[in-house]
């Protein structure tokens, strides 16, 4: 009896040493290639390791400082930020997405942190970079990078998410990918000085209620923030995961506004001005406002609502046959800490509470897992987060009831992954 199509794929894929996850829906083609490879090179079995020693076990490796600044293994070269070329006019005012399908923790490696630039990535000279703080202050200041690093330092782990993350899916499931549907979130340990320390240093005048922050990029990107938030938990940071900020994340200086939408975390920060009212800049009127079905728009929607997503399995990492799996995912909320994550394998009919992995930090990514015995039948996987305020992540249908399909930003809905009997995974939406 001939093996079934999918059985043969699984077999050949094992023999060829090709992780099934590297393919998405091109299984048949890969199966044929795999079979061909086996037929053409029977010698592979004789030199397989084990029992043989692999070539790297019988040779001298490269020495220290062969790569003075390390990099991932060559075989990981495909684990990169990627963009959706059809989404924007050019790459300068655009976004790239983190490869969440290949990440395993709550910290995003610096080279894989998602990007959002409004006028490209400037290459700033740190010796010439200055931070000016003025407006409704007693003592306007100009600080060099050396000055800023002298202030008492604080390190905290926080996510940053673009509010347009998931924005392609308001109307319907469109993009079959974890990376492209959810990859505009990343999380890092940020080190810098509290914004409140800097504001105390210049002396806040009592009329001040708002703070404008502005970048040194060509967009001179600027946003207004309420003074209370600035004094609460904002950081002016120069380091990301222990090393200097990457240019893509604002080198040499950026603002971190924990739990609030990405664009207010102004990069290449050069100016902070205190005022009594908001500025109503282009980036908080024409953009980053949420259009409702009745024609009104919501402005100053800074908060990132609670959201979660299953990162395994996903379209990029399908299942390789029935058996026991660990469903894995990430959850986050701008409200503080994650309280609970539930997982459903039947499209939201029944739910089980997943295990949260330490550390569970405020306004940071939190990892969750749940063991799952897959019987090989179709399944609909979903995760649902509840944060410490009791807020429950909504379905896309619930969000649409409130906001229609044209609000672009703040789609924090439950992601549904359809599992087919062959183990492939598709982005779908339910009624």
């Amino acid at each position: 009896m001939r093996p079934s199509r999918w059985r043969s794929i699984s077999l050949s894929s094992n023999l060829a040493g090709t992780p099934l996850g590297r393919r998405s829906v091109l299984g048949l083609g890969a199966a044929l290639t795999g079979s061909f490879a086996i037929g053409a090179k029977p010698a592979i079995a004789a030199t397989a390791s084990p029992p043989a020693d692999a070539p790297w076990s019988q040779s001298l490796g490269a020495g220290v400082v062969d790569r003075p600044y390390g990099r991932p293994a060559d075989t990981e070269a495909g684990v990169i930020r990627r963009n959706v070329p059809w989404l924007t006019a050019g790459a300068e005012s655009s976004v790239s997405f983190s490869p969440l399908q290949d990440l395993h923790g709550i910290i995003t490696p610096n080279g894989l942190f998602f990007e959002r630039h409004h006028a490209g990535r400037p290459d700033v000279d740190p010796d010439q970079h200055r931070l000016m703080i003025h407006g409704l202050v007693e003592r306007p200041l100009v600080l060099t990078m050396k000055d800023i690093v002298r202030f008492p330092s604080t390190s905290r782990i926080h996510f940053i998410e673009c509010p347009a993350n998931g924005g392609m899916e308001w109307r319907a499931a469109q993009v079959n990918s974890l990376q492209f549907n959810h990859g505009m979130i990343s999380c890092a340990e940020w080190t810098g000085v509290r914004l409140s320390t800097l504001l105390d240093e210049v002396g806040i005048r009592k009329e001040a209620k708002w703070v404008m922050v502005e970048g040194a990029d060509g967009a001179h990107m600027n946003r207004s923030l309420p003074l209370d938030k600035c004094l609460d938990d904002c950081l002016v940071v120069y380091a990301q995961n222990g090393e200097a900020l990457r240019p893509e994340q604002g080198y040499p200086l950026r603002l971190v506004v924990p739990g609030w939408e990405g664009n207010v975390n102004v990069k290449w920060l050069r100016r902070i001005k205190l005022g009594d009212r908001p500025w109503f800049s282009r980036e908080e009127t024409s953009k980053y406002t949420d259009l409702m079905p009745d024609g009104t728009s919501r402005g100053f929607t800074w908060l990132i609502d609670a959201k979660s997503v299953i990162t395994f399995p996903c379209p990029e990492k399908p299942l390789s046959g029935p058996g026991l799996y660990e469903i894995r995912g990430l959850a986050w909320t701008g409200n503080g800490k994650i309280k609970r994550v539930d997982v459903s394998t039947d499209g939201g009919v029944n739910w089980q509470t997943a295990r949260l992995h330490e550390p569970v930090l405020s306004k940071a990514l939190t990892k969750f897992t749940l063991p799952w015995q897959w019987d090989g039948r179709p399944a609909l996987l979903e995760s649902r987060v509840i944060d410490e305020t009791g807020y429950v992540q909504p379905t896309i249908a619930q969000l649409r009831t409130q906001r229609g399909t044209n609000s672009v930003y703040h789609n924090n809905s439950i992601q549904t992954w359809q599992i087919k009997p062959d183990g492939s995974v598709f982005d779908v939406q339910l009624a």
Partner: protein, 232 residues
């Protein structure tokens, strides 16, 4: 050589003095908002330094608009030179570069077209944005007069100001943008009140897929080199 009583009196005086000094210092700290900073790093921003970087213009009332002015006619020339390659001759957009004109009456529809005319709530914001971010290859290089002229031209393309309109620090804040009253500046979220039901939450028969990304040719590849796909 002093008695224990004298010692305790001196100690008592010392304690009071220390407390008093502490209070003075504490008061100094709390009043610190009006005092020079504690760290004294950096240098005072000079009026010249501030003037160079203080470019912001407040959207709703135009505070920060500089001297200068520009006509619609002058705007036509500057626009053709600096803007039309991306935004089209009449603001109609080019490829995925934004439309600047039209879209009025579409915001409640299936495919809204948010433009300066249909969406932007404040005219001074337009001056501020052109000044700080445009033209994209050479931002913040236009003269204040030319930015006024471009602002006048784009507003005129949208039929918001007449042909003879002259944009300046007095006239721009008075321009009433058509969509001005449609913005709500307080966040009404949370606006979904989902409940964390655990069992038999919905009828399994009603669990149906209404859309799928399968077969839609919109997903760039997620392995190998970067994709350059364009939409159909």
């Amino acid at each position: 050589m002093c008695s224990s009583r004298e010692r305790s009196i001196r100690f008592g005086f010392g304690l009071v003095f220390t407390l008093a000094l502490g209070l003075i210092l504490a008061a100094g700290t709390f009043a610190g908002a009006a005092e020079p900073g504690r760290y004294l790093y950096g240098s005072k921003a000079t009026p010249e330094q501030i003037a160079g970087w203080d470019i912001d213009v407040r959207g709703d009332d135009g505070v920060g608009l500089p001297a200068g002015s520009g006509t619609v006619e002058r705007g036509t020339e500057v626009y053709a030179e600096q803007c039309s390659a991306c935004h089209g001759t009449f603001g109609e957009g080019q490829g995925r570069f934004p439309k600047l004109v039209g879209g009025q009456g579409t915001l409640r529809g299936e495919r809204p077209e948010p433009t300066v005319g249909s969406y932007w709530p404040f005219a001074p914001t337009l001056w501020d944005y052109i000044n700080r971010a445009m033209p994209m290859p050479a931002p913040h290089t236009l003269s204040a007069d030319d930015v006024y002229a471009l602002t006048a031209y784009v507003l005129n393309l949208n039929d918001i100001v007449p042909n003879e309109f002259v944009a300046d620090r007095t006239s721009l804040p008075k321009v009433k943008m058509p969509n001005r009253e449609s913005f709500i500046w307080t966040d009404p979220r949370p606006d979904t009140m989902a409940k964390p039901c655990m069992n038999a939450c919905i009828d399994p028969a009603e669990t149906r897929i209404v859309s799928t990304a399968e077969g839609k040719q919109l997903t760039p590849r997620t392995t190998g080199p970067l994709d350059s796909m364009q939409s159909k």
